[in-house]
Amino acid sequence: MLKVENVKKAFGGTIVLDGVNLTVNPGEVVSILGSSGSGKSTLIRCINGLEKLNAGRITVDDFDVSKPKELAEARKRSGTVFQLFNLYPHMSALQNITLAPIEVLKRPKAEAEAEGRALLASVGLGDRADAYPAQLSGGQRQRVGICRALAMQPRYLLLDEVTSALDPEMTSEVLDILAKLAKSGTTMVFVTHEIEFARQISNRIVFLEKGVLLVDLPTAEFFSAEGGLAQPRVAQFLSKMRKD
């Protein structure tokens, strides 16, 4: 279980997360919606230990990310896919994927590479294993980014607006892969602006507004008039997103 309990985070005087509670059970897909600046990325960065919490607790399978000794275990259990890919530019697609399995999980190189190639093949990049990030399109880079996270066999996949730097065609190639992952039971925390897609793949949808988790509902309820839409901010947000 991934548990976020009453988490507070401020940068200087600006409060960015104001008492957020969120639980993600294994096998669930939870989408996080919210307008730009509402704290979605910060929440993800708190979960993977890139930001220190000011208050509250985050545990990944009972490993507390705020405790240096437990952070390593917590990080082994969650894999992050970044908005801007964050690939290592001096390494080939395959090396990007195998670095952490070899260095962190101490997997034998040949084994890690075989798995890396299989992952690349599964996202349609079987023939680009030796290409460098700069030689790949945005959509291909993000697919490598997904493989890199999956190679660690994480129990929780954290995805922060992974398609927002991509054009529509590339977006759909990446979303297709995420849909498959969701179907196969991968647990995901999915920050996105792709409302329709979130609706299709999520078990639950949460809505973040100015650092407060306003709504946390099963997908169908989130989109129902008595459920999520009863919240004026959610209704406003959804109608604005639909227009864009």
Binding site: G79, Y88, L99
Partner: protein, 223 residues
């Protein structure tokens, strides 16, 4: 000294002087690069106190004349601390530290040129600071720094000529001696200048070759 004509032996003297210059250059460059990189790593790890001390020492070394540093090491410290200091040792200490200060600057800026986002990605996947340095930062920082490093070393080769003033028999000192003996400054200093030029050209060429290899090896943009 009575002046005399050039003899074939003078060529041998020049070669010896060149040997001393190149030898001191190589030794001080190796020590300087090693220390400068080490300082850069200390800064990368943000070691408290040590980091501030290094920044201060590097500042002082960068912003004072090498000749003054040389006099301080050769005359000042031995007088103050009652030590023995040979000209060669003073030259090695001074030039190594001076090179280290500039290598430190290059190391810091190349480490900082590596995007934070990649470093964060590596940390999130569980790599330790050392593993991040070794696998993500160092390979890119090296390709990035080789150009400035070559320029620095070409310059430090010229700077070695300063050590002739404390009596090290380097190329410049041999030139000065030959000049006094033959009273043919034009010929002597032209010959000495050409030798420095050739040595510098060699350093620059080797640096360019290495840079090309490092970059070709990593067939990616953005370096």
């Amino acid at each position: 000294m009575r002046y005399t004509e050039f003899t074939p032996f003078d060529l041998w003297l020049l070669a010896q002087g060149l040997g001393v210059t190149v030898g001191l250059f190589l030794v001080t460059s190796l020590i300087g690069v090693a220390i400068g990189v080490l300082w850069g790593v200390v800064r990368f790890y943000r070691v408290p106190v040590l980091m501030q001390v290094i920044t201060f020492v590097a500042e002082v070394l960068k912003n004072s004349p090498v000749l003054v540093q040389l006099f301080l090491v050769f005359f000042g410290f031995p007088a103050f601390f009652k030590l023995n200091m040979t000209p060669v040792n003073a030259a090695i200490i001074t030039l190594s530290l001076n090179t280290a200060a500039f290598v430190y600057v290059i190391a810091v800026s190349s480490i900082e040129s590596i995007g934070r986002d990649q470093v964060e990605a590596a940390r999130v996947f569980g790599l330790s600071r050392w593993q991040v340095l070794r696998h993500v930062i160092a390979p890119q920082a090296m390709a990035f720094s080789i150009g400035p490093l070559t320029a620095l070393l070409v310059n430090q080769l010229q700077v070695t000529s300063l050590i002739s003033v404390i009596g090290v028999m380097d190329l410049s000192k041999i030139g000065a001696n030959l000049n006094l003996r033959t009273l043919k400054p034009f010929i002597v200093w032209t010959a000495v200048g050409i030798l420095y030029y050739l040595a510098a050209k060699l350093v620059a060429t080797l640096g360019a070759k290495l840079e090309k290899r490092l970059r070709a090896h990593s067939a990616f943009r953005g370096l």
